[in-house]
Subunit: 364 residues, 2 copies
Amino acid sequence: MRTLTIVSERHTYPVIVGAGALSRLPGVLDEAGLGGRHIAIVTDDTVRKQPIAEELVTALEQGSFTYSFIEIPAGDAHKSLDTAVSVYGELLAIGFRRSDVIVALGGGVVGDLAGFVAATYMRGVPFIQAPTTLLAHDSALGGKVGVNLPQGKNLVGAFYPPKAVVFDTRALLSLPQRQWVNGMAEVIKHALIGDADLFATLEAQPLRQCPDAAVLEPILADAMQVKVNIVNADEHETGLRQILNVGHTIGHAVEQCSDYELGHGEAIAIGLVLEADLAVMRGMLTMEARDRLVQLLLAHGLPIRPQERDFAEIAKRIQVDKKHGRRGWTFALPQAIGRVEVVSGVEEDEVRRVYQRALEGESA
Amino acid sequence: MRTLTIVSERHTYPVIVGAGALSRLPGVLDEAGLGGRHIAIVTDDTVRKQPIAEELVTALEQGSFTYSFIEIPAGDAHKSLDTAVSVYGELLAIGFRRSDVIVALGGGVVGDLAGFVAATYMRGVPFIQAPTTLLAHDSALGGKVGVNLPQGKNLVGAFYPPKAVVFDTRALLSLPQRQWVNGMAEVIKHALIGDADLFATLEAQPLRQCPDAAVLEPILADAMQVKVNIVNADEHETGLRQILNVGHTIGHAVEQCSDYELGHGEAIAIGLVLEADLAVMRGMLTMEARDRLVQLLLAHGLPIRPQERDFAEIAKRIQVDKKHGRRGWTFALPQAIGRVEVVSGVEEDEVRRVYQRALEGESA
């Protein structure tokens, strides 16, 4: 078990990572001054059936907490204001008070959506992130919560820190292969951003499926530490934190253009490669480093080429990205394995060239 | 011109009150580090036609700011997630970035809704409160933003402080009589909560319509100072700030039961009297103080008796109020002119008795 610490403007909170972490939840709640509160567990209809849901129930019962389940349909298409409205309604129906606690049990969709509900229901109630997917090792850290609009992803949201992140890695054992690999895309992203040693570890031993706890825990905790360090330095994304968006500017666009047929990690893998291509074209990154990234993604069975053939569709979606200033596009681009930089004033034409070349590469 | 200061967890910001305050907006924006940003003015279709909208345009043009208007329909019925969604859409359509600034120009509905949009669009953008009604001297202070759900008022929202409140009292000159009087209910509430001298001033000279700036400014600034002091002591309503809810627990319920035919201030006037009755019944408040309150409200032409005849309808709406704990109801009740206390564990039966008596009083 490893415990990391996030220092938010509002409060400092623990991130507990390891097999059996959920058994610590009652103690975590008590330490956060939330003893005796009613717990609303927001989860999706897939996670609800998994053993981890029962682990959570057992932990809450041992701590003598009362609880209710609120289920949402699984899938990013449901990370919407409509789903939030249905959760508000269920909370009101069970008489949920702003002194009570929401536990988000699930992957990134559940965490983002339940976190947004927690941030906005009665102007904010305490919540706990209990991620159950590898992907969520990323999204559960740093207090970003939100929902999608038809116009784009995460366009509505808040910075709203949880009272704790409790990541019980037992949940990962039941992950389907494709979901596991999707999560590895974010682990690789974190290594690329800030941990060259972790990158080399993964090169030496790619993790195409969930390994033993002894192997998993240090890798996962190291990847999370990269993000924790950045979030602690720039909670509200006024600067440094934007480097975490590497792969995401193009990644979100290809994800949307695929109508979410691409998994988030798959889309990010494609985005990472295209943004590395952009960095190479700008003379910021060596071709060798770019090739190491491509090889590591391929070694994990991740895609590296976009499917959407119409760049105009991609550009339209890049255009609405939150981090652009008023002139040109802003990207987080890799400079080396372990280093990423924010670059503004990127022209649509540069991205088009990179994109077209990737399309040709695919058909070559 | 008076300037008050609010110390929020996130930042400290000025509250500028007086005739011509809007002409200071460009300077305020510059001081807040928002020079050169694009300004989205969110307002309603009524305010848009009033002289104050042109005053704002003139001020922005003098400061060389670019701006766009986003209009919403006037009225509390439009303080909804649906309206928020339409504003998100318009912001996206004009290419509004998270470095840009929203100015909420209007009454409480516009301020709450535009503030909620500012709190959640791309996880939060800077905004300015520019209230144009007397009622909004209350709602624009303290960073509470939000929208209604069909189940109740303000059930979705956030604590999200503006970068400044610029209250140009010239806007009040064109207020219809009924809106003016509605606003006076909140001025009287603030006097009841924390300024017995202000209460006495209003008793000596009731303000049934907007007076000269020389009379208005000190009264308005004193009423706002009551709220500022409380908000500065308890921004997130963990305790003290709940006293600001006096009159609102029953007030919101009668407002909803009237299908918003009652104005907010009218509903609060009724709520203040009923909650004073409750305080008298509990031995907390003298009948003499209660009668002074009733007289002052009547002197301003405000209603003091509820219309809804079915208490069950009222009780249902009180039940979903945010501030209740898990046992009994929580009320902010007056103890004296100038003093209010939070009381929990109030039984439905007590409220029913008070309510039924008020109904009988009406028909007597």
